[in-house]
Symmetry: C2
Subunit: 225 residues, 2 copies
Amino acid sequence: MTTYYSEYSKAYVSVDCIIFGFDEGHLRVLIGKRQMDPGRGEWSLYGGFVGPNESVDEAANRTLQELTGIRHLYMRQVGAFGSVDRDPGERVISIAYYALINVNDYDDELRKKHGVEWVNITQLPPMYSDHREMIRQARRIMREKIKTEPISFRLLPELFTLTQLQRLYEAVNGEQVDKRNFRKRIKEMEFIEKTELIDKSGSKRGAYLYHFNRSAYNEDPNFKL
Amino acid sequence: MTTYYSEYSKAYVSVDCIIFGFDEGHLRVLIGKRQMDPGRGEWSLYGGFVGPNESVDEAANRTLQELTGIRHLYMRQVGAFGSVDRDPGERVISIAYYALINVNDYDDELRKKHGVEWVNITQLPPMYSDHREMIRQARRIMREKIKTEPISFRLLPELFTLTQLQRLYEAVNGEQVDKRNFRKRIKEMEFIEKTELIDKSGSKRGAYLYHFNRSAYNEDPNFKL
DNA sequence: TCAAAAGTGTTAGATTTACACCCATGA
DNA sequence: TCATGGGTGTAAATCTAACACTTTTGA
């Protein structure tokens, strides 16, 4: 191999995943106690190293699949974190990614096997290295994104009630919204389709179930919330 | 040194700088013909490698200072670019940063010494590796940012006319805006202060010069454009 | 029968957009 | 004197935000 840059130094490059889920009205992230040195036992994001024959995006995808069993989760880069001593052992530069998952799609046995837990975003413990900052930034980026792109549906079941959708927005934005105004805006988006099905798990009366029609969205991608 | 991750592979990590300037009504970026192998002679962003004892942000700052002579330019991360073969020679993962500079502050001799040129953002040549994509993303991020944060003033001289400011917005957003509506919005922002000075370089009649009062902004940071 | 969540419209106020003419000056 | 860019206000339309009561049903 030709060595062009031999005078420069190399670093380990890793990916860290901020996996968001929505359950029981709360936005949650998947974190676990670190099982390797350095930092063993501290709360940490799930991550992995970038291999020599995969792109950084591929490494993130692989890591997400390893953890969740799901092949192509929705995933976007948050950014690179590169303090000199962010890893106490070696020079490691990490690229953070956030991902969205419908918690029902996630096999709970697999979750336990990897020793990770769903933790409420408002109740995060102290965390390893800069992982808390990664989560903070991921949340900020996701909050902006969810206003203009229909990514909320990736956090919900295929069929969902309008109250669930509203609770999700409230959890992401950290503030409540008016029910009538919210529903008015939803009605204007024709790709959020009402079904004839009723969900009775949330109330005695029952609520209509809706679903997101992606191909209708692609034809008229006007999403604003 | 303890080696925790010896089973994993390392990569070179570099920074690439998308330096925006505004001149004669056009948004420009600073690019040059690459002076090293591989890719010698291709149009390229200015970049550098991340050293073992500096953070990635510090490397970007150092690189920007090397090129412009200015110590702490406004600079924000665009993201990590990590395709396996983005560099034809070795595995190099690059973190892109955009920076804003007032072109008058940039010593033209220093510019020539580094062999870089101001190129209109709408007339970019084909570029080395993924540099064009880096510019595209930097521009998108900057365009969003400039709507809600007073970063435009970093591209303008200390004193500027409202027409200059308007032209800057138009160049960034790629579309024209109504003069009266634009000025109405500016008037509402008290931290954009009118001076008694007149600039006669742009018209016979002359136009009032304004300046951005940062401490007034900090007291009432309401910026919307 | 009552508690709990679902569902539904209107209005005032704020914001946004469209639009056209006079002014000052140097060439 | 005229071409050029500087400077100014109003009105219609749209969007946003505030607000309260009826329905259904299981316990």
